[in-house]
């Protein structure tokens, strides 16, 4: 039996080769940098599992660049809590993956290190996007360079790349996984996410990372974790007959023909086994404007710290202020969002944009609470009598576009593609993209969304759905 240690050279060789083809990694560890957990630990949940980590999660072995010129040479002196937990559980990290700069984008094209290419489109004449912003993590899985990858999902950044590369992309409930060491884009929305081809492995990684962390002020308290556990135990409905909600506002009308075909086929399969129940969340029409008001505002604030004084890029010409450093250090999309965010925060527009968006967010949470059978343990809302167990929705309008097409789109077009994924982000709900194959062979993702804290149910249904897909 070959030990994991003896397989490492081969694993690295494959990763390097795939990286050359698809530009997946911002850095790949050398043999010396890889620590193999001791054999006595092999009974652990993730022993011998190869991990790829999105490069906005702090590690000490290599730089944490966020795919930005600003941090291209920055190495963190401390590691993220998720890294500590992965190491303890026996996982072997081989490198850091490419992303849209600071997580801002949907195609992994806004990177200082160039675009990541989708490895799943076989015989492609021209390159396709892997989705973003966790495109590197998704491609790392799709190209079989790692068993699982960590991404971050602020407004779909794990689910969209998962859908585009045909792998599971799971965004847990907000606050479940520690953000300590995760570079903030918009921290009221940021969640660490998990990508893998095997949904059981997604579940194992989730079980390892699903821990309260006192270093993270938004980490879900042990008390509420226990409360959620209790409330889910009271539920007795079996997986064989679920009440699945179909959101009117996230309908098939906006889908491209190939996605629409899959979507309808999938629905008829599901209907053979479960109750499909149409539900309405009217406020979802404001999800995109609310998201693109709040996320850039938080981003503008969070990115204020990059002034070139203490670490990171500093312009030689920057003698009197930080403008030059920031102009040169940030890419175009980041600067666009900083400008937009600051506009939303200025004294004249704060009330009319930022506060309204926050109110939309609150109303949206309560509308979601009114359709789930499980009460929300954060707000103590009462659940409706005939509520649904989970919701089902598309992940994106189309199968992955070519890089050329994607990059020629306007910002508005690119933002509009996020309409299916931003609602779960705004409300902190657990959601997963389940891979489904289209007739053309191009990947499509089906999204499962659960009540706040109901992560296990979401994973359970994802596994079940994948099995239905095989029938």
């Amino acid at each position: 039996m070959s030990t994991i240690a003896s397989r490492i050279p081969e694993i690295l060789k494959h990763a390097i080769a795939q990286n050359e083809k698809y530009n997946i990694y911002t850095s790949i560890r050398s043999q010396d940098q890889i620590t193999i957990p001791k054999i006595s630990n092999s009974s652990q949940l993730l022993s011998n599992k190869i991990a790829a980590i999105k490069d906005n999660i702090a590690t000490i072995e290599e730089p944490t660049t966020c795919s930005s010129k600003m941090l291209a040479k920055y190495t963190s002196p401390y590691e993220a809590t998720v890294m500590t937990l992965l190491n303890k559980a026996g996982a072997i990290t081989i490198g850091k993956t490419n992303l849209d700069e600071f997580g801002m984008g949907g195609g992994t094209t806004n990177s200082y290190f160039g675009s990541t290419i989708n490895p799943t489109i076989k015989n492609a004449v021209e390159p396709y996007t892997a989705g973003g912003s966790s495109g590197g993590s998704a491609a790392a899985i799709a190209a079989d360079t790692a068993d699982f990858a960590l991404g971050t999902d602020t407004g779909g950044s794990v689910r969209v790349p998962g859908a585009y590369t045909g792998v599971f992309g799971f965004k847990p409930s907000y606050g479940r996984i520690s953000r300590w060491g995760v570079v903030a884009y918009a921290q009221s929305l940021d969640t660490v996410g998990i990508l893998a081809k095997d949904v059981d492995l997604v579940r194992n990684v989730y079980d390892v990372l699903n821990q309260y962390d006192s270093k993270d002020p938004t980490s879900l308290s042990q008390e509420i974790r226990n409360k959620i556990e209790d409330s889910t135990h009271l539920r007795d409905r079996s997986i064989d007959k679920l009440r699945i909600g179909l959101i009117n506002q996230l309908g098939a009308n906006d889908l491209s023909p190939d996605v629409k075909e899959i979507w309808q086929k999938m629905l008829s399969t599901v209907q053979d086994h479960h109750h499909l129940i149409p539900v309405s969340i009217p406020i979802l029409k404001y999800a995109l404007p609310a998201y693109y008001t709040l996320a850039p505002a938080e981003a503008a604030s969070n990115l204020s710290r990059f002034d070139g004084i203490r670490y990171g890029y500093r312009s030689d010409d920057d003698k009197n202020n930080y403008a030059k450093t920031r102009t040169e250090g940030f890419g175009k999309e980041v600067k666009t969002r900083i400008t937009l965010g600051n506009f939303n925060l200025n004294a004249d527009s704060f009330k009319n944009s930022f506060l309204k968006a926050q109110n939309v967010r609150l109303a949206m949470k309560s509308q979601f609470n009114s359709i789930f059978a499980l009460p929300n343990s954060l707000t103590n809302s009462s659940a409706p009598k005939n509520g649904v167990d989970i919701l089902i929705a598309p992940v994106s309008m189309s199968t992955p576009p070519t890089l050329k097409k994607y990059m020629s789109e306007s910002s508005i077009e690119a933002y509009a593609n996020d309409m299916f994924v931003t609602p779960a982000s705004l409300c902190g709900l657990p959601a997963i993209s389940v891979p489904w194959e289209s007739t053309s062979g191009n990947p499509v993702g089906i999204q499962i969304i659960g009540q706040y804290g109901d992560d296990k149910k979401v994973l359970e249904v994802a596994k079940h759905l994948k099995e239905l897909n095989k029938i």
Partner: protein, 511 residues
């Protein structure tokens, strides 16, 4: 030393100054914003130690340096200290308050924003009363209302310097993220004296609460002033590092604005921020140049949620106003001035209370003694030595031993003064019992008064001071008999009670 000077400054000349400054027809209106560093063990949102005068950049955590991926965690001690201030200032404590980010770029502001409480501060309203016992210029009582108090982070420090003819700034992040409370008053001040009195009272209050050193000189407390004349535009005064620069800046600014008004240039009084350069106020920025701070609710710090009964469950020590009343009444019966000296120096106050306990309560010493000896003899001794009061130099038990000896008539007051001075200069003798020292240095009061000796001394004094004796006899300087008593005491080395000399002298002089 600085503190001692302030303690001894008398308040009576202030009354005159007040009348001199204000010009009829020009109404002065001021408000204060006071930032106080909370004297907590750790910083506001990290576990780095707070420090004063440490090696630059030696007390910083990853969060203080704003490294990517770090997060703030509220230090509950800072919240407790802030709550004490709110209760002491009679403010309404909000059971729900939140943190906001105030954005601006500055080299010593590593996050690019300051975490503060803009939209929902933890405390609102409240007041501090200025009373006659604080300052003679206050007649009746003057209420200064408080707008709000908020918790916020301090910034780092920039030191501007030059290297090879190029200006650059050095940045020290030790101060970054130290907890502050910002207290904002309503514009209720009408004279500079009220402001002086308020600052002193506020400093003393935070010291009694044990939440801030209250020192302006070290920057632990910083005062900004809003000033307007005849309800004109409001000018903000900043960079005022001592109480006297606060007062001088207000006086200057008051006159500057009046000059503009008198010369018909009222429009030149504009809403602006001015600094103090030591002799005049200078423009820092105008309203047009003001920054838009782009306040945003902090997206990761949870709100502070307090129980309804929080105000009742906060325990405060006895506060200065209550202590003043206590000290001026039985059993202490101190004068306003003496009480005020004690209340304005916590160390001295505690020393006094302990001494009172040891002497008056436990040993039935006359109740005036502890006050007189602490404030006049002991504190005077420290002033002479040019050092700050230190309760350990002459500890409470040693001074009480001495006062008990006086009370038991084992030593006269004047000899006791000499002995105290000796002990302060020769701490080696502190180990020895007072009674032993009295014997050794021959300071004992003559218990059997030697009438011959008294006569001898009196005759010598009358001879030496013949001019004064004539004046007394002619009835012109009757009070000078005290002077003669003093001379007799000097010759007797204080061993004979002064009233014996006085009786004898009056007999001889026939008055």
């Amino acid at each position: 030393m600085v503190r001692c000077h302030r303690l001894f400054s008398t308040s009576s000349p202030l009354l005159k100054k007040k009348q001199e400054l204000l010009i009829p027809g020009y109404k002065l209106k001021c408000g204060l914003e006071i930032h106080s560093q909370l004297d907590t063990k750790f910083k506001l949102f990290s576990l780095s130690k707070t420090s004063f005068q440490s090696t630059p950049n030696s007390k910083i955590s990853y969060f203080d340096a704003s490294l990517p991926g770090t997060q703030p965690l509220l230090n509950p001690e800072a919240l407790l200290f802030a709550l004490k201030a709110a209760k002491a200032l009679n403010s309404t404590i909000n059971t729900f308050s939140t943190f906001d980010r105030k954005h601006y770029f500055y080299g010593d502001q590593p996050l690019g924003y300051q975490i503060t409480q803009h939209y929902q501060p933890y405390a609102q309203g409240g007041f501090l009363k200025l009373l006659p016992h604080d300052n003679e210029s206050i007649t009746g009582e003057k209420i200064i209302n408080i707008e709000q108090i908020q918790i916020e982070q301090d910034t780092g420090k920039s030191i501007y310097t030059e290297l090879e003819n190029e200006a650059f700034s050095k940045i020290d992040l030790n101060r970054t993220n130290i907890p502050l409370i910002e207290m904002v008053t309503k514009p209720d001040f009408e004279t500079p004296e009220e402001i002086r009195c308020f600052i002193k009272k506020y400093q003393n209050l935070v010291r009694h609460l044990g939440i801030c050193t209250g020192d302006l000189e070290t920057g632990a407390m910083r005062v900004d002033v809003n000033i307007s004349v005849n309800n004109g535009h409001r000018v903000e005064l900043k960079n005022l590092s001592t109480t006297s620069s606060v007062i001088n800046a207000i006086k200057y600014e008051y006159k500057r604005q009046i000059k503009l008004i008198e010369s018909g240039e009222t429009s030149k009084v504009i809403q602006e921020t001015r600094g103090w350069d030591g002799s005049k106020t200078v423009r820092l920025r105008t309203k047009e140049g003001a920054l838009d701070y782009r306040y945003m609710p902090d997206p990761e710090l949870p709100p502070i949620i307090l129980e309804n009964g929080i105000n009742e469950s906060l325990k405060l020590p006895k506060l200065p106003d209550e202590l003043m009343i206590e000290l001026k009444n039985a059993p202490y019966n101190l004068s306003n001035k003496d009480a005020s000296i004690l209340v304005n120096d916590l160390k001295l106050l505690n020393y006094y209370f302990q001494l009172f306990e040891e002497t008056v309560i436990k040993n039935k010493v006359e109740s005036k003694l502890p006050g007189n000896w602490v404030i006049h003899e002991l504190l005077g001794g420290f002033t002479k030595l040019q050092i700050e009061f230190n309760p350990n130099l002459i500890n409470v038990l040693k001074l009480s031993e001495l006062l008990i000896s006086i009370n038991n008539e084992q030593i006269t007051k004047s000899s006791a003064k000499l002995l105290l001075q000796h002990l302060m200069n020769n701490p080696g003798d502190l180990k020895r019992p007072i009674l032993e020292l009295i014997d050794d240095y021959d300071l004992g009061k003559e218990s059997n008064v030697d009438q011959d000796l008294i006569g001898e001394i009196i005759n010598q004094v009358l001879e030496e001071q013949s001019e004064i004796v004539e004046l007394i006899k002619s009835g012109k300087r009757l009070n000078s008999v005290k002077f003669l008593v003093g001379q007799c005491m000097r010759l007797s080395q204080g061993k004979i009670k002064p009233n014996i000399f006085e009786d004898e002298l009056k007999l001889k002089l026939g008055i």
